[in-house]
Structure formats: C-alpha cells, structure tokens
C-alpha cells in the first residue's frame, strides 16, 4: 500500500521523498524513481486525489503556448520585432501577427511598436527554447502606455488573480487601478492616483510573499482598506 510522507501545504526541498508506493501519481515539480515520488523543486505540496504536485516557490517562467504575457520590445528587425518575455531568449513578433491592420513592407515599424514599448501579448508558438513567437491579435492584447511593472514569482500568478479573478478585481476596485497580470510574473499597474497605485503595488507584493497562507483575499482586503484610511 502506498504511504504519504508529507502533508498538504508542507514546504519541501528537492530530493525529498513525498510518497511511497504506486497509489500516487507524480504531477508538476515531482518525479517517480522506483517506488518513490520525489520533489524536484522547492515548493508547497498540493494534493489532488492521487496526484501529488509541487507549487514552486521560486524559479523562472517557462513559456507555454497561449499564455498571455507582458513583454518589452527590445529590437526591431526587417520582418518584425523582438520581445523580451522574461525568458533567456527573446520572442519574435512578426509583421503579420503584430496588428489587425495590414502592415506594408518597408514601412516605418516604429509607428506600431518601438524600442522599450511594453506590450500585453499572447504566446502563439513555442518551438524549442530559441523559437518563441508572440502575437498581438486577440481580445485585450495591446500596447501598455504609462504605469509601472513589478515582477513576482511566476508560480504565484494564479494567487494574484484569484478564483475567477476575485483577488485582482478586489485590488482594482479598492485602488481604482488598471492592472494586467502576465503569466510570466510581470504585473502592470496604472492608477490615476499615485498613492493608490503604490498601495496596489504593496498589496501585490504582499500576495507574492504570503501566497501559501489561507484566507488571503480577506487579509488583502483588510490591508488595502487599512492603508487607504
């Protein structure tokens, strides 16, 4: 019979044995070696029926198809743009994916995107570590003007968004800020009131730090309300 060696929400380190026996199945952040299921990353244990998963507490974003990310235009080529998405190699944004309009060849590309522009974009293709394509065609994808970007651990993005966007909507409502969260751990915040914008930033950082605690939405609500007074 299988035996579970860890509890839900316990912090584990690489090489730690999570479960013995074939009754459990390894999911993200774990692997099987002989009979044992072993952690391969530092993170929090998440049990879902027979599945054992690790929610990482650190680590870089790994690009996946259809992820919406926040990128920065870093280079301009003849056939499109290079976008930094927080991965070791820059993603390509080609002319045909850049806009709903037809972009004529040899036209001035800086009128669409220029160096340093921040874009909300979707990963359309991942083909090896060096070939990553992004596209700007789709609802909500656009250039982000103004505001500020903060970086959080990518695995904590779901916590910042919350269930059906509960957490992010709460912060938006209380602080009157526009917020976009990229799956690559970049969060764009823009508020009319700079003080409220700062509070939103603090709240997001707080979620990043306390991601594994329970009742986070309530404590963040209290935190923002306290700061707004």
């Amino acid at each position: 019979m299988g035996e579970l060696k860890v509890k839900e929400k316990e912090i584990v380190v690489p090489g730690e044995i999570l479960a013995v026996g074939m009754d459990f199945l390894p999911a993200g952040g774990t692997f099987r070696e002989d009979d044992n299921i072993i952690a391969s990353q530092i993170g929090v244990v998440n049990l879902n029926g027979r599945l054992i998963k690790i929610i990482p507490l650190s680590g870089k974003y790994i690009p996946r198809r259809d992820d919406v990310v926040i990128g920065k235009v870093v280079d301009l080529w003849l056939n499109g743009w290079k976008v930094d998405i927080g991965w070791a190699y820059d993603a390509n944004l080609s002319l045909k994916d850049a806009s709903e309009d037809f972009i004529e060849k040899k036209s001035d590309l800086t009128q669409y995107f220029s160096y340093g522009d921040i874009v909300l974009t979707r990963i359309s293709e991942v083909n090896g570590s060096k070939i990553i394509d992004v596209a700007m065609k789709g609802p909500g994808l656009r250039k982000l003007i103004g505001g500020r970007i903060i970086t959080i651990v990518p695995s904590k993005v779901p916590r910042v968004i919350g269930k059906q966007g509960s957490m992010i909507n709460l912060i938006k409502e209380l602080t009157d800020c526009k917020i976009f969260v990229g799956q690559n751990g970049r969060v764009w915040v823009n508020g009319l009131d700079p003080k409220k914008e700062l509070i939103a930033v603090e709240a997001i950082r707080k979620i990043d730090e306390e991601s594994s605690s329970e009742g986070l939405t309530d404590s963040i609500k209290l935190f923002i309300e306290g700061r707004l007074k």
Partner: protein
C-alpha cells in the same frame, strides 16, 4: 605519528560548527551562504540565461557553469594575482561535475545556469563548503533537481582518520586530505579528490566517516532552505 587529540579539541569524527543561510544575495535568482568553522562560502545562481559564446550551447540540455573564487583578502593575507588561476579553474570544474548529475536542465535547452562561488574567509575545506552553498543556491533558484548534494573533507593525519580537517591538520607532514561529495537520497559519490598516500582500508573508513558527516550536513541544508520560505 600517533595522534591522541585534535588541536581544537574536537572528536575525530566531529565537524566544525556549521551555519547555513539561504537568500543572502537579493538580486540573484538564488543564493546561499555556507559556513564551516572559519571557511565561509557564498554562492549566487543566475539563470537560466542566454549562453555565450554560442558554440558552447547544447540544443538538447542546459549547461551548468561554476565559478570558484577565493577573495584576495580571504586567506593568509598574501597578495593574490587577480583572476582565475589553475587551482580555481580546477575547483570550478569539479564543482560543476559534482552538481551536474543531480540537476535536470532538460527544460533549459541552449541555456546556461551560472553559479558564482565566492570564498570570503578561507581556512580549509573550501571546495566542499562551496559545493554545499551552490547546491542550496540552485535549489533556491528553483532549478529542477533530482537530489541535493553535500560535501565534506575527510583525511588521515598521523594514524587517525579525521573528519573536516583544519588548515593546521592539513599541513601536517604526510597528512592525507580527501574531498568527498554525496547526493543526499541516493548516497552517490559526485566528488572524490585526494592528495597524499593512504591505505585502501583507510580510504574505506574515510568514506564511511564522510558519508555520516554528509548526512548531518544535508539536514542543515534542508533546514536552511525551508527556513527562508517559512513564514
């Protein structure tokens, strides 16, 4: 020579005092400090990031690069020529080889994970301290690992097998110094270097002692890692 007592009063199989801390370099992707006696190692991990020069890139897996450096003021105080020397290049290489077997860099094709190990204060057993710190820093950086690594120097001074030699003990005539690294769960040897002449039976005894010491070290490493993230 008959050895009856160690100069600092430790037992023959006792290590110097160990202190470990994770997350000491805020800007790095992962970092750790490992202090054993008077040797202090800091390790910082950057990456996975772009690998240059391009001919080193491997399209099937990522590459680990280790840089070992003793700071100019760390040792006896003699002037040190800056930059890598023969010794530090070698130690960088063996550190790489000690850590690569436990890393899973298959997600990071064409990329490099850089580990910088700086020795702030050196006494002895610096490469082992460096490996211990680097293993913690890699785990802190969230690099997938199959196992952890811990390392210790053992050796033979006079007629006794000692664990964790000090510089004084290392410098005794005909002393044997052996640096060993073990993986925590698997117990595999990933580093084995030796200097001196030693009997086969003593090698076996030394390895046994090293394995025991590494078990203790791995517990300290694990605690330090968990401490950073526990709120």
């Amino acid at each position: 020579m008959k050895l009856t007592k160690r100069s600092d009063g430790r037992k023959f199989d006792q290590m110097r005092e160990i202190e470990a801390k994770v997350g000491v370099v805020k800007r790095a992707d992962g970092s750790a400090m490992f202090k054993i006696g008077n040797s202090i190692a800091y390790a910082a991990v950057y990456g996975p990031r772009e690998l240059h020069p391009g001919h080193l890139q491997d399209p099937t897996r990522g590459k680990l690069r280790c840089n070992y450096n003793m700071m100019a003021f760390s040792g006896s105080g003699e002037r040190v020529r800056p930059g890598p020397n023969r010794r530090s290049k070698e130690i960088g290489l063996v550190t790489e080889k000690a850590l690569t077997p436990v890393l899973d860099l298959s997600h990071y094709k064409n990329m490099a994970v850089d580990v910088f190990i700086e020795l702030v204060q050196t006494d002895s057993g610096t490469r082992c301290a460096g490996i211990c710190a680097a293993a913690m820093a890699l785990a802190d950086a969230g690099i997938p690992m199959r196992d952890m690594v811990s390392a210790i120097a053992v050796g033979k001074v006079g007629d006794k097998v000692l664990v964790d030699l000090t510089k004084e003990e290392e410098d005794v005539e005909e002393a044997v110094d052996m640096a060993v690294a073990f993986t925590t769960r698997g117990g595999e040897v990933t580093l084995l270097q030796m200097d001196g002449i030693i009997e086969k039976s003593d090698v076996k005894e030394s390895l046994k002692a090293a394995r025991k010491a590494c078990e203790q070290i791995s517990k300290i490493q694990m605690e330090a890692l968990k401490k950073k993230y526990k709120k």
